[in-house]
């Protein structure tokens, strides 16, 4: 299995072709089979990956690397994939959530089934590719590839206001990613100027030393692209619309994986590539993250639509992730990566649950529910568990990530963390208020009395998530150990002492060189 990563990445795309061509009923099972197989193939990654990185040299060691195979050889652009501990976990999250989403969509998608399933698989390839790509251009291609199927999933299978939501999602993301493309190109030219050869490999680009002003602006370009994806306050407004309009499966993937690409981007690209700017702007980003935590929670509190509530809760939770990332210490960043997984699981599960009652009642308004604990006890138990996971109850997964992120960031940004930690209060407020209005109280609405409880199929696809909620809360060590060496290596790069003299010298030098390079292009 020399090409396991590539096989995992492209299997869904190949499967998608077959799924597009087959009729709806077959397409369902075929898509489930393909994504299930992808998951099964990705499981060995866990065992093949060696957290300690024995025998590997250098500060940033990727494993299971394939390539570089020349892609656009003249420009030094190649096909190169590989994973570190962080990417490994996110790949596994993706391959786990996709079959769950596909299985859950059996009952919710009835029109253009094969296209829906096909797009889901294309989306999976896009997400996996973005996690495993080691070449910046390759990363960019996958990054944009994700956008297209998601655009269609929202725009075709979404709610009444789907076109607006899809376009908003698309344009928001594209604005960010175009800026990122410009920054990638600039970095690429700087690399050529300094090292004398063309390469777009992230491992090579890490060696680029930039003059401070340049670094600052390139960081802004990358950070904006990723901040929109996360999404951070104040560029979050695409999220509630996209979530509310998207079909259940779209919401789960969006919250579960797509948002993680924003934070993953910070960790893989923006932070280690531009360490000075990262430190310089760290307080600003931490501040925005803290505002996002409180803001997202407060706005979530006053929503009437459950899905919108969960969407805003994502803004709040991802704020914790950002706060942890910009702590610049092992505790905070590990917690942050852990929180990415947690958020993928618990928010994914929340969207699945909302989808389950939406299928039965065709409304998401909180006021329409109440007393569900009496009508659908199994559903309510699952909902409570997921709620408490989302709130960060110790013993469940959410606590580990939240506590470590906040602990870490308290060291770097005490004030922002104090503000952000208040999220533990507001998080409990909006989630429990929603639970109180939806699950508890008297069962008065006749329509709710006739609800059917979770079916076997629904329990089947919720079970892995529930199991992980407990396992990751009680035994986080395997996960933390897989990621810790990688986190440390990223931090080494982010916190490296930058020799200021070298920077000033190379500023003059690379400035000329860049002009030279441009001249050469012409």
């Amino acid at each position: 299995m020399d090409h396991l990563l590539s096989i995992i990445t492209f299997l869904p795309l190949v499967g998608a072709l077959a799924v597009f061509a087959s009729p709806g009923a077959t397409a369902r099972w075929l898509a489930l089979g393909v994504s299930g197989l992808t998951f099964l193939l990705s499981v060995p990654l866990w065992f093949l990956y060696d957290p300690a990185g024995t025998g590997l040299e250098g500060w940033h060691t990727m494993q299971l690397v394939e390539g570089p195979y020349p892609w656009i050889a003249d420009l030094g652009i190649s096909y190169m994939v590989g994973i570190d501990g962080i990417a490994l976990l996110l790949v596994l999250l993706t391959t786990l959530l996709t079959p769950i989403v596909i299985y859950s969509s059996f009952s919710s998608v009835h029109e253009k089934v094969s296209q829906y399933m096909g797009f889901m698989l294309v989306l999976e390839t896009g997400m996996l590719g973005a996690f495993v790509a080691l070449d910046t251009f390759l990363f960019y291609v996958f990054w944009e590839l994700m956008l297209i199927p998601m655009y269609f999933i929202i725009g075709i299978w979404g709610g009444p206001n789907r076109i607006y939501a899809a376009v908003k999602f698309f344009i928001y993301t594209v604005v960010g990613s175009l800026l990122m493309l410009v920054a990638i190109l600039a970095l690429y030219f700087f690399h050529h100027a300094q090292q004398g050869f063309w390469s777009a490999s992230i491992l090579d680009l890490y060696h680029v030393v930039l003059p401070y002003r340049t670094e600052f602006w390139l960081f802004i370009a990358f950070a904006l692209a990723f901040a929109i994806k996360v999404p951070m306050f104040p560029v979050h407004t695409w999220l509630p619309d996209a979530h509310v309009q998207a079909p259940t499966g779209g919401s789960v993937i969006l919250a579960g994986v797509l948002l993680k690409l924003g934070t993953f981007g910070f960790l893989r690209y923006a932070m280690p590539l531009f360490p000075q700017a990262t430190h310089e702007l760290g307080p600003v980003i931490a501040g925005l993250a803290a505002i996002g935590i409180v803001y997202g929670a407060l706005v979530a509190m006053v929503q009437d639509d459950i899905k919108k509530l969960v969407a805003y809760s994502s803004v709040s939770h991802m704020g914790v992730v950002m706060l942890g990332l910009f702590s610049f210490n092992t505790e905070g960043v590990s917690g942050s990566v852990y929180q990415m997984l947690n958020h993928g699981l618990s928010t994914g599960a929340l969207f699945l649950l909302v989808g389950i009652i939406y299928e039965r009642r065709h409304t998401r308004l909180i006021a329409e529910y109440g007393g569900l604990a009496t009508a659908v006890p199994k559903f309510s138990v699952v909902m409570l568990i997921v709620t408490f996971s989302s709130i960060g109850l110790p013993g469940l997964n959410g606590f580990i990530g939240e506590a470590l992120s906040l602990l870490g960031s308290f060291h770097a940004h005490p004030v922002a963390t104090v503000v952000g930690t208040s999220g533990v209060i507001f998080g409990a407020v909006y989630m429990l208020w929603m639970v109180q209005r939806v699950i508890f109280g008297p069962l008065t609405n006749q329509a709710n009395k006739e609800l059917t409880d979770l079916t076997g199929r629904e329990i089947l696809y919720l079970a892995p998530i529930l199991a992980l909620i407990f396992v990751m809360g009680l035994a986080p060590r395997p996960f933390l150990q897989v990621m810790e060496p990688s986190v440390d290596r990223v931090l080494q790069q982010v916190n490296r002492e930058v020799d200021l003299l070298a920077v000033t010298e190379s500023a003059a030098h690379s400035g000329d060189a860049v002009r030279g390079a441009h001249g050469g292009e012409r």
Partner: protein, 679 residues
């Protein structure tokens, strides 16, 4: 005993949770209740074994310790799921599992309402989960395991308060409890973060290591009286105010009475609410370094004790009186630990667990017998109808008001005396020379009078005088048949009065654990004090070695005033209601209204915090910031661009091929011209 057995102490209740949850509806009330009770009883056996192991070691064995597995290990955080039993833990374990198993047993009888038949399994699952969490809280050898328990008991509290979730008010009360506790947890977490980072390379979350580190490097937290250690202690105490219902976070506890009465007894009186005091006792070495924080603890405790007592005097719901009484007694405990009398404060935790659990279970028996009637105005004369319940309640009453010889007398008296004698330098909220302890003693003394009054009022209104029941339709929310005969209260079943009797015995003789020195009781004198000495000795608390006679005089004064209060209450409430009216004339209207309306604290929070937050979020953050400003900017940009392109399109993109061709040709001509001129 083998330390590995410690893991079984929380293990049994957890097993109970799993077994009952798996059986769910198949487990009837008796089956589920028996399993749950048996599990807690097994824990109790192991707890007492632990206690006797430590007692038998005569100080040679400092603590038992066992590591279950390594939990979190990242960066400087290295935390095991590990349990520790030192004397403090062992005593608390016995209290929790001992009282816990009695209350479990009692619950089998209490939860016999046919309407609940399908959900009693849930009740016992939660109850066992609670005992499990509580044991984690007290046995955890580090902050994080303690915090798991800390939040776990909060969860169980939430679930049990909202046990009858169909009632929206009950569900709301559960949520209120959880959220209020979260406010405390917010503070607790910040304190934890601050502590962790201030230790630098010595960072640890384990209690014993922390004690060693601070002993060796007190400068890490700023030394004795340093700002840093004061901030840490205040933040940790903030967590305690949430869990132990102190000012400003006490508002959830009275509402928590929505839960079934055994829950109120176990969680909201005997065990969970004392965890704040337990936490401070556990961290005594840390708090001892921060006299300002100690002063804050003592002052908040005294003020809470007083405030809650003023509310308790006018409540008519029997459970509400007991709830405010609990808040008040918790205030006493904080007063005790705040002035440095850790043993005294903890002693009161134990005796309070006995008599308050008894009071709640007794009240539960009354409520059960009265078919869910909780208003004392509809009770009266029940002593004749419910002899065992009545007499055990009377014992509990004597214990709580501090009747000489009963358990509460010894613990409360010790707190008051040590408060009086405490060195002002260790309670230095307003500076080391201000005689704060004397002032706090004054508050405690007045509170003792109020306690005697409201508890006497409760007992008199419930058990003495004429039976006033049956006049009002009651128990309506449980849809009883209207048969007046069925409402005639009668004694409860043995499974319920059994625990009452046991607790009554403990309430009488609990004082034996820590007899005062002036009784000259030989080996029994200050047993608890000596047993806990290894835990508290490093705190080095100082008390005025005043002559013995001053202590005895102060005690005599307290006893005298309490006796007078009981007599006055009897006169006022039972013999001559005229006096009551006359006294009410002397009290300002404001004070009476304040007491009845709980000093409008809930309303204040509602008005000053909740309303502005909800309205602000809806009207400002969501409607203005999100929809108007941000989305306005986004959509505005889009509209601007599309408007501009439309204008451009209408002028230039006319759709006529020839116009385009002309532009093309002109462009080509221009280029040719440019090349011609350029070359």
């Amino acid at each position: 005993m083998n330390p590995a057995l410690l893991s079984l102490v929380p293990g049994f209740p957890l097993l109970g949770v799993i077994v009952i949850a798996l059986l769910n509806r198949k487990a009837s009330r008796v089956v589920a209740g028996s399993i749950a009770t048996a599990m807690v009883a097994l824990s109790a056996v192991l707890s007492f074994w632990t206690l006797f192991t430590l007692v038998g070691a005569h100080g040679e064995l400092e603590s038992l310790h066992t590591v279950l597995y390594r939990w979190i290990d990242v960066g400087g955080v290295d935390v095991n799921i590990a349990f520790m039993a030192d004397p403090l833990t062992a005593v608390m374990m016995c209290v929790v599992t001992g009282v816990g198993s009695l209350i479990h047993l009692y619950s089998i009888g209490y939860m016999d309402d046919p309407a609940d038949a399908n959900s009693t399994w849930r009740f016992f699952t939660y109850l066992n989960l609670f005992v499990f969490s509580m044991l984690l809280l007290i046995m955890g050898d580090n902050f994080l395991v303690m915090f798991v328990g800390w939040e776990g008991v909060g969860l169980c509290s939430y679930l049990l308060i909202g046990f009858w979730y169909s009632n929206t008010e009950f569900a709301k009360a559960g949520k209120k409890a959880f959220v209020t506790n979260r406010v405390g947890d917010f503070s607790f977490l910040l304190g934890l973060f601050l502590l962790f980072w201030s230790l630098g390379e010595h960072a640890t979350l384990q209690f014993s290591e922390l004690k060693e580190v601070l002993g060796a490097h007190p400068e890490l937290v700023g030394g004795h009286g340093g700002t840093l250690v004061t901030a840490i202690c205040l933040l940790l105490f903030g967590g305690a105010t949430g869990k132990s219902a102190q000012i400003p976070l006490f508002v959830w506890l009275p509402d928590a009475m929505a839960g079934p009465t055994p829950v109120s007894a176990l969680i909201h009186a005997a065990t969970m609410v004392t965890s704040g005091i337990y936490m401070i006792c556990r961290l005594n070495f840390l708090f001892a370094m921060a006299p300002v924080a100690m002063g804050a603890v003592a002052t908040i405790g005294a003020l809470t004790a007083f405030l809650a007592a003023t509310i308790a005097v006018s409540q008519n719901d029997i459970k509400k009186v007991l709830a405010y009484s609990t808040v008040s007694q918790l205030g006493y405990m904080f007063l005790g630990v705040g002035v440095g009398a850790f043993t005294a404060g903890f002693f009161h935790v134990i005796t309070h667990a006995f008599f308050k659990a008894l009071l709640f279970l007794g009240a539960g028996a009354v409520i059960h017998a009265m078919h869910h009637e909780q208003d004392m105005r509809h009770m009266g004369g029940l002593l004749g109808k419910m002899k065992i319940t009545g007499w055990t309640m009377i014992i509990a009453w004597l214990a709580i008001i501090g009747f000489p010889g009963f358990s509460g007398f010894f613990s409360k008296d010790e707190i008051l005396w040590l408060t009086f004698a405490a060195d002002p330098a260790q309670v230095a909220l307003f500076g080391p020379t201000v005689p704060l302890p004397k002032f706090l003693w004054g508050i405690g003394f007045i509170t003792a009078i109020l306690t005697a009054f409201y508890m006497s009022r409760l007992v008199f209104m419930t058990f003495f005088g004429e039976f006033r029941g049956g006049r009002h339709g009651h128990g309506d929310d449980h849809g009883d048949d209207g048969n007046a005969h069925a409402h005639e209260p009668h004694e409860v079943s043995p499974v319920m009065w059994g625990p009452l009797v046991v607790l009554a015995v403990l309430s009488v003789f609990g004082g034996l654990l820590n007899l005062p020195h002036w009784l000259h009781a030989g080996n029994l004198t200050g047993w608890l004090h000596h047993f806990l000495e290894p835990v508290f000795e490093d705190a080095h608390m100082r008390f005025d070695a005043a002559p013995e006679h001053l202590e005895l005089r102060i005690m005599a004064l307290t006893i005298g005033v309490v006796f007078f209060t009981i007599y006055a209450a009897w006169q006022m409430l039972m013999k001559n209601p005229e006096i009551k009216h006359q006294i009410e004339h002397f009290i300002p209207d404001f004070a009476i209204a304040g007491s009845i309306n709980k000093w409008w604290v809930d309303e204040l929070y509602e008005f000053a915090i909740i309303k502005p937050l909800v309205l602000g979020s809806r009207q400002v953050l969501w409607a203005i910031v999100d929809a108007l400003v941000i989305d306005g900017a986004v959509n505005g940009t889009a509209r601007l661009l599309s408007g501009a392109s439309r204008a451009y399109g209408q002028r230039v993109q006319v759709g006529k091929v020839q116009v385009y061709a002309l532009a093309l040709a002109s462009g080509a001509a221009l280029l040719i011209f440019a090349f011609a001129v350029g070359s």
